[in-house]
């Protein structure tokens, strides 16, 4: 997939930074709640970005990235709760912890290919919430009761609300991570990662240390998702095992496929998509029932499912892939 046009990227970025400043003009449109929602989208986008590095660019399937998200969230929460660490300092710690966990998990994963790896990661996602409740860890994790945290405070006396600051905080983290990922993929290592995805044997024959690249990619991918988890702990100001059920991992995968496998911009679109659709599916099903007066009792998940099927038919390469295709066809028509 071609890279995202740079000019457009800068414009979008500038817009993203300007939006909260419009609050005094349109207090209802740019409300704190909406900014909070966008922050959760950004967090989801970072998590999907992590998964994309692994699945989209290295060809390893994971059904268990919710586990790394949980580890990141708990690392941040435990550090804030027990060591009174400031919220921003927990991000690198969560990244390191998740990198190590991801790397270690990547070692046995070397022997597992394709579907088997998917199952192993699935098991990981199932196990983590149970491990968090485990008796011996309870002093640290708070067991089922979880850990209540405080929201990030606005630094340097900036004239921002808590939610505005959270938005900027998440946005800055995402921009840095996106930039790092784009640079990494553009380097020798990035090409090696993709070579392993496209032609494993050829890559091996050409002298690429496939084992090392696969495990390190697993680690980096886990670190990205872990950072997203740490951000979510700050945003929600509460962690509990129930927040990290198996559906979380599936959601990341949905975001990945819908946004565009193997596209950085697609990860961001995918993250935005699943938060948006997850929220509007319920509103839509209520709208059908109450306002249109139809007697179907469509559950929110039915709506979600229908949307997904339609989208996959219309844009089998994800939203970003679909847009590219549409643009190319339009140009061909004109030319």
């Amino acid at each position: 997939m071609p890279a995202f046009p740079k000019k457009l990227l800068w414009v979008l970025l500038a817009l993203a930074f300007l939006v909260p400043l419009l609050h005094p003009l349109f207090p209802d449109v740019v409300s704190d709640y909406r900014l909070f929602l966008v922050s959760t989208m950004i967090i989801a986008a970072i998590a999907v970005l992590g998964l994309n590095l692994l699945t989209g660019f290295n060809g390893q399937i994971s059904l268990g990235h919710g586990a790394f998200y949980a580890v990141g969230a708990y690392t941040a929460a435990v550090l804030m709760d027990h060591l009174n660490m400031p919220y921003w300092a927990t991000l690198p710690c969560a990244a390191v912890v998740c990198f190590i966990v991801g790397y270690l998990f990547g070692l046995p994963a070397l022997r597992l290919e394709g579907h088997y790896l998917a199952l192993a990661t699935f098991a990981l996602a199932l196990a983590v919430p149970q491990i968090l409740k485990y008796k011996w860890l309870e002093g640290l994790t708070g067991g089922v009761q979880g850990i209540v945290l405080s929201k990030p405070e606005v630094p340097f006396g900036l004239p921002l609300s808590e939610d505005q600051w959270l938005y900027y905080y998440c946005l800055i983290v995402m921009v840095v991570l996106y930039w790092a990922a784009a640079n990494m993929l553009d380097s020798r290592s990035g090409r090696a990662m993709m070579a392993i995805r496209d032609q494993y044997m050829a890559a091996d024959t050409m002298g690429i240390d496939t084992a090392l690249y696969k495990t390190v990619t697993f680690g980096i991918s886990a670190a990205y998702t872990g950072i997203a988890g740490a951000l979510s702990a700050s945003a929600i100001a509460f962690v509990a095992p129930d927040s990290f059920n198996i559906f979380l991992s599936i959601k990341f995968l949905i975001g990945l496929v819908v946004g565009g496998v193997g596209s950085l911009a697609g990860s961001v679109v995918g993250g935005i998509f699943y938060v948006l659709v997850d929220n509007s599916a319920q509103a839509l099903s209520m709208f059908v029932k109450n306002d249109l007066g139809l007697q179907f009792d469509l559950s929110a998940y039915t709506v979600f499912g229908i949307l997904l099927i339609v989208l996959m038919y219309l844009m089998p390469m994800g939203i970003v892939g679909g847009v590219y295709l549409a643009v190319r066809r339009l140009r061909a028509l004109r030319g």
């Binding site: 409300s31 709640y33 959760t40 149970q130 067991g143 979880g146 100001a237 129930d242 929110a300």
Partner: protein
């Protein structure tokens, strides 16, 4: 330019009109979420996910408001009940409740369900000063008006109930040696904490305490351990599936202690019958609501009214499901609270009225149990009555016991 007479009269009448309207304004006071025609009430519940069997409560409450609106609403205002699916996920409920408070601008939230979920929004609701009424969890932390003046529970808290069993054991069992089976989570710990407090200096009478995870397939090995401890009292702190297994296993092992079962699992249909009615004879529990599968209530007025209501507003729903009893009763309490607010539908007044119930008789509560709250007492139901399982139903005995008394 002189003031014309007409101008003066006009000005004076406008002034009179204005003052008239301010007088009318003083009678009617609104916060966000209330108008002359509508009261917005927010709710979240687990319609999907691991706890989705509790989704029945939300559906029952929704049907309740429909029936209220069909009968003309509350003081002429329709209740706009917005209920959302949180999937029992603490991260999700934060998002949803912010939507309810900041976008939908509800007057209050009501009966949000689950201990982890409510913990996630506890601080937020109190910072925003939005009433968070009658939450659907029995943890003891919801009744702290000093720290959290905007949050109130509903059912008797687990802590109190545990203490009541302890008192009963000390008074009735000679030389008790107590074995405890406990679900390893906050709910189990709350019960156990209350139980130990009730035992006081006799806490050493607990000879064995074993835990299980809610995800464990059986509790067989735990029951064997408890039996081997030589205990003659068995306190069963578990949710329905495990509770039924525990009762059955104890009978299979021919272990016959005095059994105490927490109210959470005191259902004839989902616990006593699967465990075997023979095995369940003599088990003691504490109750506050009428069990829908218990035949002794069939001819009481409030129960008959509930059955008629269910037939009309929730046709096809399983009437043996105690969640519908729970939902109906708690919605009635909310209805009464909003009615008492009259035309002063402010958030302050909602809390004031919620904290001002004296001996209010709520349908479907056991006879003799009433709602009592005050600005320092945020536990609406604090009384329970002990019951012994006999034949096919619960046989209530003794007096209604309350936490204040014990």
């Amino acid at each position: 330019m002189g003031t014309s007479r007409r101008g003066f009269v006009g000005g004076a009448s406008a002034l009179a009109l204005l003052s008239g309207s301010t007088a009318a304004f003083a009678q009617k006071k609104y916060s966000d979420g209330a108008t002359d025609t509508e009261i917005k009430v927010g709710h979240t519940g687990p319609y999907s996910g691991p706890a989705s069997s509790y989704g029945a409560i939300g559906k029952c409450i929704e049907a309740y408001w429909k029936s209220v609106n069909a009968a003309g609403g509350i003081n002429g205002r329709k209740v706009n009940f917005i209920t959302l699916d949180d999937g029992y996920n603490p991260a999700k409920i934060v998002e949803l409740v912010r939507q309810l408070v900041e976008q939908d601008k509800v007057l209050c939230t009501f009966n949000t369900l689950g201990t982890p979920t409510n913990t996630a929004i506890h601080k937020y609701m109190n910072q925003k000063k939005v009433p968070m009424l009658y939450v659907a969890t029995g943890a003891s932390k919801w009744g702290k008006p000093k720290e959290f003046p905007w949050t109130m529970g509903y059912q008797p808290d687990y802590h109190t109930e545990g203490a009541i069993y302890a008192k009963h054991i000390l008074a009735n069992v000679k030389d008790p040696k107590i074995a405890v089976l406990m679900q390893n989570d906050d709910y189990g710990k709350d019960y156990f904490g209350g139980f130990k407090e009730g035992l006081g200096k006799d806490a050493d009478k607990i000879v064995k305490n074993v835990t299980f995870e809610v995800t464990d397939p059986t509790v067989d090995s735990q029951i064997i351990q408890l039996k081997d401890s030589g205990a003659n009292v068995f306190f069963n702190i578990s949710t329905p599936k495990a509770a039924a297994q525990a009762i059955r296993k104890a009978a299979d092992l021919n272990w016959k202690p005095a059994q105490y079962l927490n109210n959470v699992s005191a259902s004839v249909g989902s616990v006593m019958k699967p465990a075997g009615l023979d095995n369940s004879q003599g088990i003691i529990t504490a109750q506050y609501l009428k069990d829908p599968t218990d035949k002794q209530w069939e001819n009481t007025d409030d129960f008959k009214a509930w059955v008629a209501w269910m037939d009309k507003w929730m046709p096809g729903a399983n009437k043996a499901d105690a969640n519908y009893i729970y939902g109906f009763s708690v919605a009635t309490l909310m209805h009464e609270t909003l009615k008492k607010c009259g035309n002063e539908l402010t958030r302050e007044n909602v809390m004031k009225q919620a904290a001002n119930f004296q001996k209010f008789k709520l349908p479907l509560l056991l006879p003799g149990i009433t709602i009592n709250t005050s600005p320092t007492d945020y536990y609406p139901i604090q009384s329970v009555q002990l019951a012994r399982f006999k034949g096919e139903s619960w046989d209530l005995f003794g007096d209604v016991m309350s936490a204040e008394g014990s």
